[in-house]
């Protein structure tokens, strides 16, 4: 891309606009050009719906986890207050964009943005994120873009109805407890069912009666006929540990009313919808950033936008992808935009201009069609596996990554690896591990529900690398026992299955 060809081309086409004001017609023009270029690059997206909103509305959207419809809860009020406060103090600019994984894919354009920023948001959200939502395997199997908005409408109405019927406080308590377990409401390995509004409604009452009958059966107190004594292991319920706490509670908690089970289910479904996002932050942002960069540069090469546009665009782009070094006082972890963007750019470079090192590390990538290679990477990986697969030595050098070992048995921290020949693989492996959900969140599963005696619930925390639980465990146990209705115990066990530590929340009285 030398300047000569640029200038030649620049003469051949007309600029889309000059100046920073936007209008609906201009947005339409830009959208059409960006869509055309995106199609040339082979991006496959859901249909788009752009919504122009004001800054206040952006704060509203922010506060309700970005969703256009959401049930009411005090915690969203809390988020709103803190966003409002820091926005008004000027401590924080609002995000330029929010995009919703739905079909049509909704992207918000804030009215305060300049035309350049609107174009950036369109390229980033309406094409970058959108194509990721549609293509990535996690989103494909865990979320249903066409049904989510309808489902949220259903959830909001159902919860509002419950509030009217059973009182705000009871519903709030229940939601608090469910939120505390939100990260434990997902089957990590089983593919979930798709959402469908009509089915959901039709089945809801059916489900209520059926579930209640099952629970009644499980918790029968009538004496059974004499049976052969079974060994403890055989008799244990559930027979296998269950990782989906909310599901277990929804199905088996003895005292929940049908409407409470339905709300547990709603929170579980919403948790599941957000599950892929937590695992693809680097990839998702990297992909969107890569594409806004590529698409807008293409527009520039074709002479559709001027230098002023590009300067403004590059200014905010470089802000977004800047990585603070660990020594900086602003350092706040690895910037997913920076890492993701660098990795996709690097991947393209490996395809187009490989070095000898790349040939050794990625023999089946060099000199392939970069569009196909990137598309494959986007579709079939999550952060952990993406880094494990594609982080190149060149990037490790560029970021000057180094690994620190923090073992509480050792008196000092140790530098385990740096960006040298011996360290590349180790760093890549450890960085990938850092994005592994299992390592980030404590692994807690339902171990036993006592169906014969005091109906208490026993959970197990399977320690990973000897990492202990934080103090919040006591609070969370209170929430679990509120849902379960009886005492709840949590055992921390080490790799060999020995119980190291027990927490307990005793519930004396019956009822939540």
């Amino acid at each position: 891309m030398n300047t000569n060809t640029r200038q030649k081309k620049a003469k051949s086409k007309k600029l889309l606009s000059t100046g920073s004001e936007w209008s609906f017609e201009l947005i339409d023009d830009y959208y059409r050009e960006i869509a055309r270029v995106a199609k040339q690059f082979g991006l496959d997206t859901y249909p788009n719906q752009l919504e122009v909103i004001s800054a206040e509305q952006m704060m509203d959207a922010y506060a309700s986890v970005g969703m256009p419809v959401m049930y009411n809860h005090w915690s969203y009020g809390k988020h709103f207050l803190s966003t409002q406060k820091s926005y008004q103090r000027g401590a924080m600019g609002l995000a330029y964009e929010i995009v919703i994984n739905s079909s049509p894919c909704i992207a918000y354009l804030m009215e305060e943005n300049t035309m350049t920023m609107q174009a950036l948001v369109i390229a980033h959200a309406a094409f970058g994120h959108n194509s990721f939502f549609k293509g990535n395997y996690l989103f494909r199997s865990w979320t249903d873009a066409s049904a989510i908005i309808d489902y949220l409408v259903f959830a909001k109405n159902y919860i509002a109805q419950c509030e009217q019927r059973y009182g705000d406080d009871k519903v709030e308590e229940l939601l608090d407890s469910c939120h505390a377990l939100m990260n434990y409401g997902v089957d990590r390995y089983k593919r979930p069912q798709k959402l469908s509004l009509s089915l959901e409604r039709a089945k809801q009452s059916e489900r209520e009666t059926y579930q209640q009958s099952q629970i009644n059966e499980l918790w029968r107190t009538l004496p059974k006929r004499m049976q052969e004594e079974k060994s403890f292991e055989e008799n244990r319920f559930p027979s296998e540990p269950q990782e989906n706490l909310l599901y277990f509670i929804e199905k088996y908690a003895p005292l929940l009313e049908p409407w409470q089970r339905e709300i547990v289910r709603i929170i579980r479904k919403i948790a599941q919808y957000f599950y892929p996002q937590r695992q693809t932050q680097v990839m998702n942002e990297g992909w969107a950033t890569f594409w806004h960069y590529t698409l807008l540069n293409q527009l520039y090469d074709e002479g559709l936008v001027d230098d002023a546009f590009m300067l403004e665009f590059l200014h905010s782009h470089t802000n977004v992808v800047f990585q603070q070094p660990v020594t900086s006082k602003w350092f706040n972890g690895i910037n997913p935009y920076a890492l993701g963007f660098a990795m996709f750019r690097d991947l393209r470079r490996i395809c187009e201009e490989p070095t000898a090192e790349d040939a050794a590390w990625f023999p089946d990538l060099v000199n392939t069609d970069w569009k196909k290679t990137l598309d494959f990477a986007m579709r079939n990986f999550k952060d952990e596996s993406f880094i494990l697969q594609y982080l190149s030595p060149k990037l490790i050098r560029e970021f000057r990554l180094f690994a620190i070992l923090d073992d509480d048995y050792l008196p000092k921290l140790k530098v385990a690896a740096i960006h040298d020949g011996d360290g590349y693989r180790e760093i890549r492996h450890k960085l990938a591990g850092q994005y592994n959900l299992a390592g980030r969140e404590p692994n807690i599963q339902v171990y036993e529900a006592n169906t014969q005696g005091d109906r208490s619930l026993t959970l197990r925390h399977y320690q990973y690398q000897r990492r202990p639980l934080g103090n919040s465990v006591h609070e969370v146990l209170k929430h679990i026992s509120r849902l379960w209705g009886f005492s709840v115990k949590l055992d921390s066990v080490d790799e060999k299955g020995r119980v190291l530590l027990s927490y307990e929340c005793k519930l004396e009285k019956r009822g939540g």
């Binding site: 004001s54 009020g77 809390k78 505390a180 377990l181 603070q324 660990v326 990492r467 465990v473």
Partner: protein, 425 residues
């Protein structure tokens, strides 16, 4: 055409309900903060929002998380000094590499969660203790009567508001400005013409051209309109909040040893409430603070609530001072006078009849209203009995015994009827 929706006109207060839920949930903490703020504020400064802070640990939403300890392996960017095998001291204070979630800066989570309460919300919490009926709450919170006042001039408006003097002055200015050029030119040409006429005859060609120019310039001058829509100026009127007249409020309080902080707090709420009522009804309010034990003094608000004295109580001293101040500064023809007295009921035995006499003869005729609260749990004493006699004679004298803030309100019921009747008239 791409699917584009303009949502800007949709409501922007989608979060209002969540905000309200948040306030409801932390009512206890917020109320505490409001009470603290009320104690710290002047009673004439109640109608303002307030920053409220709640400890973060109270509003955290818990979830399972890892604590420090065990084995952590982390990757960081920006290595500029380490090589493999180096050992580093653990950063102290749990911050940094060993902490949670990518070594957050200063994430010790002990800061308070701070947010603003609006003026309405603040008053709502303030009223909460007092158990005001809802109607009264709205009346207290609503803003004052609007009244149009003059505010300079504008260049558009209705014909009735045309300001003639200003309009003509603008027209004159415009005429002078527009005619300056042609007039000057006209003068010079006229001079040339006069010179020519002296040397040459009227019929010469140059004279004729000059005359043509003069005609043209004169036509130009005639074309400048005398008045133009552009010149019109209108009187501008804006609406400003404006209650009717002025009032003075006397706060009289016993500060003898037996009045403790709790009693003073109740008294303060009582004064605040009275003030809020008066603010609604009067344009200008002055507050006079009189505290007394055996002697009465006029003090500022801070000393009124915070200084404390010991010794006996002579109520009549305060009444005398009140009377004196009224006579000197607040003639009852110009001022609506309100007196609010708070006391724990102690008084010298011989002084109480004197108080009654003073009230009956000298003070009550001057007043709009006299409100007396006795903050005590004990038996009524002689002051109370003497005041009862005053209340029999004067309908605008009310008295109540109260033990906690929720009992303040009944006293205002009557007063409130009066105030609304007055402003309705």
């Amino acid at each position: 055409m791409i699917h584009m929706i303009d949502r800007r006109l949709n409501g922007k207060n989608k979060s209002a309900i969540n905000r309200e839920r948040f306030l409801r949930r932390f009512k206890g903490q917020i109320k505490e903060a409001v009470t603290k703020a009320v104690n710290g504020r002047s009673i004439t400064d109640i109608e303002r929002g307030e920053k409220v802070s709640i400890p973060v640990k109270d509003i955290n939403e818990p979830g399972f998380a890892h604590a420090q300890g065990g084995v952590w392996e982390r990757v960081f960017p920006g290595n500029d000094r380490y090589s493999r095998g180096d050992e580093i001291e653990r950063p102290s204070g749990g911050d940094g590499a060993g902490g949670n979630g990518g070594a957050g800066n200063g994430g010790d989570g002990e800061d308070d969660f701070v947010f603003e309460l609006s003026k309405e919300e603040f008053l709502e919490f303030f009223f909460d203790d007092l158990e005001l009926p809802n109607l009264v709450k709205t009346q207290l919170k609503q803003s004052m009567v609007m009244k149009p006042v003059r505010a300079g001039f504008t260049s558009d408006g209705t014909p009735t508001n045309i300001h003639v003097l200003r309009s003509l002055r603008a027209a004159l200015g415009r005429r002078i400005a527009l005619s300056a050029g042609p007039l000057e030119e006209l003068n010079t040409v006229q001079e040339q013409l006069d010179e020519l006429l002296e040397t040459q005859g009227e019929r010469s060609k140059e004279v004729q051209t000059l005359q043509a120019i003069i005609r043209e310039l004169k036509a130009k001058l005639v074309c400048i309109p005398y008045i133009d829509p552009f010149d019109l100026k209108y009187t501008n009127r804006i609406r400003v909040p404006r209650p009717t007249t002025q009032a003075v409020m006397f706060c009289v309080m016993d500060v003898s040893g037996s009045m403790d902080e709790a009693k003073k707090d109740i008294a303060k709420r009582f004064f605040i409430l009275l003030y809020l009522f008066l603010v609604r009804a009067y344009e200008k309010i002055e507050v006079v603070f009189i505290r007394h034990h055996t002697q009465a003094t006029e003090v500022n608000e801070h000393d009124f609530f915070h200084a404390r004295d010991t010794g006996g109580t002579v109520v009549s001293s305060a009444l005398k001072l009140t009377k004196k101040i009224i006579d000197e500064r607040y003639p009852d023809a110009d001022w609506n006078i309100y007196v609010a007295q708070a006391s724990d009921g102690d008084n010298w035995d011989s002084d109480s009849p004197q108080c009654r006499q003073m009230l009956n003869a000298e003070i009550m005729p001057l007043l709009q209203y006299y409100a007396y609260v006795e903050i005590t749990e004990g038996e009524p004493q002689n002051l109370w009995f003497e005041y009862e006699k005053v209340a029999e004679q004067h309908a605008h004298f009310t008295m109540r015994r109260i033990r906690n803030p929720s009992e303040i309100w009944p006293i205002f019921k009557e007063l409130f009827k009066k105030v609304s009747a007055r402003s309705g008239a």
